[in-house]
């Protein structure tokens, strides 16, 4: 009873929303990239690199907003490298993703050592703090999460993504590149340019997620992305590459994460077992997705990984 009570509470709801932000940003980043036809497993590295970028600039300038901008810029820069490698140089997107993830994992620890003389974490940063909403009750936490600029930005970006993909010229072209790059090129769409732009936009959004993750902990910790980029990618696939559904899937994974944390506190003995929850859930989700794909549903962009000529 106490466990169920602990799980179904405003605290867990607040935790879920708070934890959904990095997932959702990475997921939206994945949507932009994959809808344009570029497979993106580099989301993990982008989360990590942009988290550090955000914290470094926040720490140096004292401005959380400058940190957000720096994080988005870091994510975009990483995405640009991924896009150039995959779209212009035509290397395998998975190989590029592996390389970038390694660079991000090693590079963040290198920068931590270089700047703060620690390979595990950065000094503390304030993040966004709303003094009026301080307090440790679940309700206060929920209010804080709802009023947190990264949360609000994420919702806005989800709306923008959903709208732009369907209603704008750029969105139409992004989808065309993802579905059939050859056909898109024939009618005069500049496929490489469109894809690079889409991947970079996705990288910037994913970067916001990295910043949110780090600000939430009030510091950067090495390896803090903890597989969220990969899980977000699984959420993208699970949600059939549709922005709002991706956000929903991400919230579901975040709920598992939040539950897992509560269960760890409530059931110490099984803390290592419940830690696996999000990962096992991802595997289960993959089975569901694969089965559905066999039945012809939730189709991937048909031009994923294909070039225009």
């Amino acid at each position: 009873m106490s466990l169920v009570g602990a799980i179904v509470s405003t605290t867990v709801l607040a935790q879920t929303l708070r934890m959904a932000v990095p997932y959702a940003c990475a997921g939206l980043g994945g949507v932009w990239s994959e809808r344009s036809g570029v497979v993106n497993i580099a989301l993990e590295g982008m989360l990590l690199a942009s988290g550090l970028g955000g914290v470094v600039v926040h720490h140096a300038t004292g401005s959380a907003w400058a940190g957000v901008a720096a994080g988005a810029a870091t994510g975009a820069a990483f995405a640009l490298v991924h896009a150039l490698l995959c779209v212009r140089a035509r290397i395998d997107a998975i190989v590029s993703g592996i390389a970038l993830n390694l660079v991000a994992a090693g590079g963040t620890r290198f920068v931590l050592r270089a700047l703060y003389d620690s390979s595990s974490n950065s000094p503390a940063v304030a993040g966004f703090r709303i003094a009026a909403l301080d307090g440790s009750s679940g309700g206060a936490l929920l209010l804080r999460t709802l009023a947190d600029p990264p949360t609000i930005l994420t919702v806005a970006l989800a709306a923008l993504t959903a709208w732009a993909l369907v209603r704008t010229r750029f969105g139409l072209r992004v989808r065309a590149c993802g579905e059939d790059p050859v056909a898109a090129a024939i009618v005069g769409v500049d496929v490489p340019r469109t894809r690079i732009l889409a991947v970079v936009i996705g990288g910037a959004i994913c970067g916001l997620g990295g910043v949110a993750l780090a600000f939430d902990q009030h510091q950067f910790q090495s390896g803090m992305s903890g597989g969220r980029g990969f899980i977000a990618l699984a959420a993208v696939i699970l949600a059939g590459w549709r922005p709002w559904r991706v956000v929903l899937a991400c919230v579901a994974f975040a709920a598992l994460d939040a539950t897992q944390i509560v269960m760890q506190q409530e059931a110490q003995a099984w803390k290592d077992a419940v830690q696996m929850l999000p990962y096992v859930a991802t595997l289960a989700a993959m089975v569901v997705v694969a089965k559905r794909a066999r039945a012809g549903g939730g189709r991937a962009p048909a031009g994923l990984g294909k070039h225009a000529d």
């Binding site: 704008t168 010229r169 139409l172 072209r173 579905e179 056909a183 090129a185 009618v187 048909a302």
Partner: protein
């Protein structure tokens, strides 16, 4: 004054010169047919016109101004529209989205202006006299609708030159008639219409000017009197470059027992109910417009897909698939590995290959198929299309010398030159003479007539007629439409 002019265009793919110094002009108000055999370079030539393929040398002029940069976008902007043989439409987009793509009207913030697009497409639809289902997903539309959509898309961009690559390949005769009526109307409105085809009767009935392409070079361009048979007959000699090849002497049929019996096979929407039988030593053809279930039938016979209902008796079956680059060959593996693909268990003892037995078998197949160059260590990718097909055929034929009693061959000579075609046909005849039941799927009626003892006609997922090889094009065509043979 010509609207589109080509000056000495040249394009090579590797060692193969696809187009050599081609110069040509297309005039407004005329339907200009470009004819030639498969692989003569017609498609490459016209893809260069439309900016899709960049020539190695030579220039394209639109209204006497050079097309620069040589891109599809620039060609479209200058009024050159192309309708590809394989439609460049996106299945999961609506018709409206497809027409707009690349030339989208916008309002503020980069928003799509659907209303403006709709009204403009409305005008285009009136001009071609067709109703366009703008809100339907393209994947739900039939080929006729898709083709009208492609044409509408070109006109939506104010195309003054409309290039169509084999537009009637996928159409029924009635649809083809309607298409030409539309094209005539567009020509009369002052557009230059270019049609790539290898159907001479269409040239005879509809073209004002004809250009013959042979092995990448323009042989002749001349005006035509519409409906004049003699002129067209003269053209065919120009296309072939020599007299039509002698038909292969068909041996007398000594049909044996039934070796393959297909009864009431259904598969999804592709196969409605297919029944047929082939006797040992018999060659049976399946004729039909592409996409009427032939591909699925071959896959069921090959055992790759399981039929929803019905039965297949006989076999084992050896199969040559339709798409040799994708399903027939592992292009990056050696010729040797491809010649025995899927048969490694025959050369293995306790999981280890017997290299000598393997090499012997490969050498034997290489020699009997006449593959050039006869080097088993080359990657299959480095062979010409004809030799690649010989590899696939050698494998299938070799199996008929092992266990297989039935040989199913899809499009044995598609994209293959005449010499290799001849060799491939002889192998099929030889297999039949050894008592193998042979089923040939082809869209080439001449090929089927030369090879087969009987020709079955396939339409909309069913066998609709069983005819002798002496049946006329007209009879076969009528059967494909579902009409009773005249």
């Amino acid at each position: 004054m010509p609207t589109l002019r080509l000056e000495k265009l040249t394009k090579s793919y590797g060692d193969v010169r696809a187009v050599r110094e081609a110069s040509l002009a297309f005039e407004p108000g005329k339907i200009h047919a470009v004819v030639g055999e498969n692989g003569a370079g017609k498609s490459t030539l016209l893809q260069m016109d439309a900016g899709i393929v960049v020539p190695d040398a030579g220039e394209v002029y639109v209204d006497d101004a050079r097309l620069a940069p040589h891109t599809a976008a620039e060609a479209i902007a200058r009024g050159v529209g192309m309708v590809q043989q394989h439609f460049a439409l996106i299945g999961v987009f609506t018709a409206l989205e497809n027409v707009m793509l690349g030339a989208e009207p916008m309002t503020s913030f980069g928003r799509l202006d659907d209303a403006r697009a709709r009204s403009k497409i409305g005008e285009v639809a009136r001009e071609i006299g067709a109703e366009l289902p703008l809100d339907a997903l393209v994947e739900t539309l039939g080929v006729g609708d898709r083709q009208r959509l492609e044409i509408a898309r070109a006109l939506y961009r104010d195309a003054r030159v409309l290039v169509l690559d084999e537009p009637t390949a996928v159409l029924t005769p009635a649809e083809a008639q309607a298409l030409y009526a539309t094209l005539r109307r567009l020509a009369e409105a002052g557009r230059a219409i270019v049609v790539v085809t290898h159907k001479l009767d269409e040239v005879r009935d509809h073209a004002d000017v004809v250009t013959v392409v042979r092995r990448g070079e323009i042989v002749v361009t001349r005006p035509l009197k519409r409906g004049d048979d003699d002129e067209v007959r003269a053209l065919s000699a120009a296309i072939m470059g020599r007299e039509a090849p002698e038909p292969i002497a068909r041996r007398a049929t000594e049909a044996g027992d039934v070796a393959l019996r297909v009864d009431g096979v259904r598969l999804g929407r592709a196969l409605r109910s297919v029944s047929l039988c082939v006797r040992a030593g018999e060659i049976v053809g399946i004729a039909g417009v592409d996409g009427n279930g032939q591909r699925e039938l071959v896959r069921v016979l090959a055992g790759i897909e399981e039929a929803d209902a019905g039965s297949v008796e006989g076999g084992p079956v050896s199969v040559v698939h339709e798409d040799r680059r994708d399903e027939g060959l592992v292009l990056d593996a050696t010729v040797a590995d491809n010649l025995v693909l899927g048969e490694l268990d025959r050369f293995a003892r306790f999981g280890v290959l017997d290299g000598d037995a393997f090499d012997r078998e490969v050498a034997a197949r290489l020699a009997s198929a006449g593959i050039v160059p006869p080097d088993p260590t080359l990657p299959a990718r480095s062979l010409s299309g004809g030799n690649q097909q010989k590899v696939v055929m050698a494998r299938a034929i070799a199996r008929t010398r092992l266990a297989a009693r039935v040989l199913v061959v899809a499009h044995p000579t598609r994209g293959v030159d005449l010499g290799a075609s001849r060799a491939l046909h002889e192998q099929l005849l030889d297999a039949a003479s050894r008592g193998i039941a042979v089923l040939v799927v082809s869209a080439d009626l001449h090929e089927l007539r030369a090879l087969c003892d009987r020709i079955l006609v396939m339409a909309r997922g069913a066998i609709v007629a069983d005819m002798p090889p002496t049946a006329t094009d007209r009879d076969l065509g009528a059967a494909m439409l579902g009409a009773p043979a005249a």
